[in-house]
Amino acid sequence: MALKCAGALLCFSAALMAQSSGVELYRANCLPCHGEDGQSISGVDFRSGQFRHASTDEDLSRLIRNGIPGTGMPPTNLPDAERRLLVGYLRSMNRTAGAKAAGDAALGKEIFEGKGGCYACHRVGSKGSRVGPDLSAIGLQRNPAYLEQAILDPNATIAPRNRFVHVVMKDGSALNGRRLNEDTHTIQLIDAKERLVSISKSEVREYTLLTTSPMPSYRNRLSGAEIAGLVSYLASLTESQ
């Protein structure tokens, strides 16, 4: 290493340059679809450190070269060296994103399906409710730190597509649900009965876009080990099917 880098300082600079080049390659080739922080495509989050179609660096490099047939991921003609830089940057996105899941995923699954009551609102595969966000591939979408925070403090970050609304119609009837779409004149939501409901705002007396999550905090409901297990289980959910 010393011979190649002619000193630690130069090595450090080379490493920085490599990372910098990886960023540039990322911005030139990946950012338009994947976004600055790698989470613009539904079901894909580079910050999670997990990739549906790749596990090793070699897999990732091959994936960048060949694309993924049947998806919007195109092949590239980047040379090997640039693909290596890009892989390095993709890996670094996870390192900067936070902690790894270290709990007992089997325990987490038990919590999820048992006393956590998570299926009451969430769906994994073909099980559970569609009222809350689908978690089938949450391990690809969120990193463990984010998942842990969501369990301890559900109000900390609520994605716009997961905001709930409370609607009171002019006839006095009320409706709650997760907002799917909204425009100047209408709102589309999925309600508690999993119905897809479209509402004309002209028929609405009161409309509240909730700033808090209907999900309770599990800070005092689960032990540290149980929360860690739950995080690990959620981080393991990587398939949308």
């Binding site: 009451a120 409710s129 589309q188 508690a192 004309s200 209907p214």
Partner: protein, 536 residues
Amino acid sequence: MKIIWILLAAPLLAQIDSDRLVHAGSEPQNWLTYSGEYNGQRYSLLDQITPENVKNLELKWVFQAHSTEKFEATPLVVDGVMYFAAAPNHVFVIDAKTGRTFWDYEYKPSREARPCCGSVSRGLAILGDTLYLGALDARLVAIDAKSGHPVWNVEVADPKLGYTITHAPLVVKDKVLVGVSGGEYGIRGFIAAYDAHSGKEAWRFYTVAGPGDPGVKTWQGDSWQHGGAPAWVTGSYDPGLNLVYWGTGNPGPDWNGDDRGGDNLYSDCAVALDADTGKLKWYFQFTPHDEFDYDATQIPVLVDADWNGRARKLMMWANRNGFFYVLDRETGKFLSGHPFAKLNWAKGLDEAGRPMRVAEVNPTPEGTLIYPNLYGATNWYSPSYSPRTKLFYIPSWQNSSMVMAKMPAEFTPGQRYGGGRSRAQEVGRRGMENTPVEESAYGSVLAIDPQTGDRRWEFKMRDVTASGILTTASDLLFTGGREGYFYALDARSGAELWRASLGGSEEAGPISFRVEGKQYISIAAGSALFTFALRD
């Protein structure tokens, strides 16, 4: 993770089950299958819009697809929610009353897919809470109808070999049925059924007879291996007989039959299959040894009616080859056949319904003038049958012709396997401008009396049509054409009662549905979906 204020114990709404699909006609507020009902009649019991008030139709909403491809899909409507697939495989679930989106799911087919004639989707099927999409890369995709999440995704065939799926699947009981496109690539066509819950293949019927099937003798040598006969339009179903009816396409190579001597079963056929096993019950071949590309890929229309004083289960079929047929759908027996457009390749049909060919009218190396042309006297566009008027309505091409020449054909996997070329007669259309001449083909809606084959009326358009037809219980007929006009006609007389100019070719079937007491009519034109209802 409990939601505090939502009552989760509330029961789910009634799902679309097999029983509802069988009795789809009893809930005319919905449009539950590609053709509205299993019988393929594309007839709606809704009658709020009448010949008297149809002039008061107004546009309620437009849905613009994010695609410049043709919008060929027929939407489904279930209890006020509309489901469809925009080209190529972009599924949208929208509010049927306003056109606003609940969710969308874009399946991106493999770039290995090589559709012959447009990267299109003609629609979806639904069962329970699941939508089924036949994808352009010959995969069958199940999607959660409430959330848009994919449930399963299975390979039906290899897209690299030219297989694609463009039509709406058909759900029968607990199975999802699809056929494959690819008749221009030397595929071996088939129709297959998949378990609706798991995606596991339940049965497969090859539309090209192979070893073990006596029909293989209708193929010279091993030509059956690349015999085509795709099944690219949705079939129909008779629950009482438990038979699925499907039309099959041309044999391959399309325009050169020199190396595939014989009738080439089961190309250009109507096939009747046991819905549970896929076993062939009967077949009827419309165009044996076809060299004109006369796919029998039309919607089988099932009608129960008197025939010569006896109640019979009939199948009516206006074929691309220019003949209108009536068959007994229990046995496949030919009952009658009459030409409905100018044709020169056959003198008529014999007693068994087999065409009596004109010997000199065949594709030759020098080229031969053929009526109708390879697009046919009709094509895949849905016809309609009204139980009220007892008329069969055909979206037709009249006076169409083409000089067709055969060329050598060599099979290469995944490559075109046509064996010919064609030259259209002077038609006058160049891009957006149309300057038709005497030889030009034109489109028309034909009203045929199935009992006699007689034309009751014809509604002519200057350009050809690609639109399906809808009839309603108020004796209205809705249709369009390539000029972009969307019409309401009097189904009894053919008189034009209303029209709108939608600015794009209608290449889909109209539907009708009802939300909150109001009847709507939807039709795709260009790359958008338009929905009309009476003025408030």
